[in-house]
Symmetry: C2
Subunit: 389 residues, 2 copies
């Protein structure tokens, strides 16, 4: 186990009706709020109205930025920054899933930066003072409600970049599982795949001896496998939505990667797919993951896949090790299939012509290799993309 520093100060208000804390919590930071959201779903399901009425009751002034894209764009971030500057906003409140929260974080980080906000996405050391961010979560997926990361796209340069800064962690987030009852099947599926992928990125690490963290990761994976399916079949199942929602936060808030060397692997590859083809993040991850697993399986990585097979899929440890590993990977693939997620890149509109370009770009910010358990280079990424095609 490696040394680590732990600090997860985000407060979570979890459960049905927890939005009631909103007024009291916001007023700790100010009384001028920018609400950031995506499409109109929060207007249809009543969350917008409830938020607005709480803010009014508490004499909190609010302004709005709507239309945040599923892969949020730097152009939208700029619009938000302009409103914050003009209206002297004191807190940025995201209502939505990870895209909306990510957008809100970079708006908050960009308000006190004088240059082009794309600079701070590319170089977070330029971030100085960040406005307080809070969120009301409506989709269990990215974990942005409790972490310090945001992923922003620049369609001019075909770049999709993750940026992290400790002060971008939300001050508080409201997690009401009933708010995810209306999430459609395909988004429930993609969200579950995203949570699992975050967990895999920490779990399949080259660092040994973080036994406790690995056990927690396995618990999160079993939770996703069990409840992802139930949430698809019974969208209003509170227990399923609650377990998925809490899993989304714990998978990436830092708990799993403590004492390990999380070096993202499927994520940077997927970011290239989204950057060029604007596909759903979780779908890209679900397509890539089983192919990546098959590709990195060898004598050195075998033990980790055996643990995965035994502890997550309940495969008998007495079986041959490679048999366990292959069965575990097969189960992973079958599971994503069972959620109705496409299994090939060509099914989501990706052409062969950019595979090599994307493979090269996926490793460009990481010294030429990505991943920890078995680091892979651009050629490996291309092979995985071809397997996934």
């Amino acid at each position: 186990m490696l040394s680590f520093d732990y600090s997860i100060p985000t407060k979570i208000f979890f459960g049905k009706g927890k939005i009631d804390v909103l007024g009291k919590e916001i007023k700790k930071y100010g009384s001028k709020v920018l609400i950031v959201y995506g499409g109109g779903s929060i207007k249809r399901n009543g969350i917008y109205d409830r938020t607005a009425s709480i803010l009014k009751e508490n004499n909190i002034d609010f302004y709005e930025l709507s239309g945040v894209e599923p892969n949020p764009r730097i152009t939208t971030v700029k619009k938000g920054i302009d409103i914050c500057k003009e209206k002297n906003i004191e807190l940025v409140l995201a209502i939505g899933g990870g895209s909306t929260i990510d957008c809100a974080k970079v708006i908050a980080a960009g308000v006190n930066y004088d240059g082009d906000p794309w600079d701070i996405v590319k170089n977070p050391s330029k971030i100085e003072k960040v406005l307080p961010v809070a969120s009301i979560l409506t989709l269990a997926a990215t974990g942005s409600e409790m972490d310090q990361i945001a992923v922003i796209s620049n369609m001019d340069t075909n770049e999709k970049i993750g940026v992290g800064h400790e002060d971008m962690r939300p001050k508080f987030s409201v997690l009401d599982p009933t708010y995810t009852f209306t999430v459609p099947e395909n988004q429930t599926a993609a969200g579950t795949a995203d949570i699992m992928s975050h967990t895999f990125e920490s779990y399949f690490s080259g660092v040994e001896g973080a036994y406790l963290q690995d056990g927690i990761a396995e618990a999160i994976l079993r939770t996703c496998i069990k409840y992802g399916k139930i949430a698809m079949e019974k969208p209003n199942d509170y227990e399923a939505r609650a377990n998925l929602m809490w899993a989304s936060s714990l998978a990436i808030n830092g708990l799993l990667s403590l004492g390990k060397d999380r070096k993202w692997c499927c994520h940077p590859i997927e970011h290239e797919l989204s950057a060029y083809y604007d596909i759903t993040h979780g779908v890209g991850l679900a397509i890539l993951t089983p192919n990546w697993m098959e590709y990195i399986l060898n004598d050195d990585t075998l033990h980790k896949f055996v643990d995965y097979g035994v502890n997550v899929w309940g495969i008998d440890r007495k079986k041959d090790s490679y048999e366990i590993a292959r069965e575990a990977i097969k189960n992973t693939r079958k599971y994503f299939d069972s959620l109705g997620i496409p299994s090939k890149l060509r099914e989501v509109g990706i052409g062969e012509e950019k595979l090599e370009l994307m493979a090269n770009r996926a490793v460009r910010n990481s010294g030429g290799t990505i991943g920890s358990l078995r680091p892979i280079d651009a050629e490996d990424v291309l092979n995985i993309l071809k397997k996934s095609y």
Copy 2:
């Protein structure tokens, strides 16, 4: 799963040599420190000298309270409060295990309370302003390094009471696993039993549907079972000490009880044993736990013991449910035996004459019953004490 509020703001600096952060972290809160510790072990193993030299380098004035008892007493708390008042202390730094940290917390809570500090132990709503607390942990057991609880004894009244207040949570704790290399076998064993008992108290809850939390609890239990034994055999095994140390924090910092209704059961019984006989907390818990498990096992609680047996002890789920449950309990008993912990109350100097008195007192602060999965009353407690005798 019940609704919950999550807030665990304690920073953890985990790993060999992490004490180096001490100066920088303390100076965020002030430059006058009270160091609280127990016996002389921190002087023998160099932690005291290292701390003193860091404080001097950083121009931090420090005063000392030594001699904190294994079951820390209110008389010692009072001494600490007096020093804080006299010297205008700005942060209380505990160096030691749970007893020392608990003592430091109540000192910090008592400085700004004008009455008898025993009042705030009995009624934490009287706590107002709490001095910042920090800790350097030297024993993996109570989890006090990351929670808001302290347990204080009053030998005049034979009371041992747990007191909780959100502001008593340490601002930061240094967790260096090498500091536990010198922990003797019996304390390593008792500490492991304590961590497991904290986990059981959340795990064996009557609330269903907190699947993720239960999976995390099972990971902590497997971690204790694996590494408690290794740490006994190889005291300098970093991996074992690190996993136990992090397990001690996560077992009780709030993570496991989120969405459940933790109603302490073995703990209040054990507090009576310690209050009257001053025994080691973890030893009392290890003696009580298997007998409590046997006592509460019935058709209603069976499913939980089956999960425990299958997911923690790896027992085949295809076996008969009662067979799984009894095997799991038997394994628990055998495990504590294997750590060399006494298995009977009479072996640790407890007489039969006070069993009834202690049984009555164990439930007195909880409306007559304790525990969640199967609440038990004074008569049940007496039966468990007799089984444990």
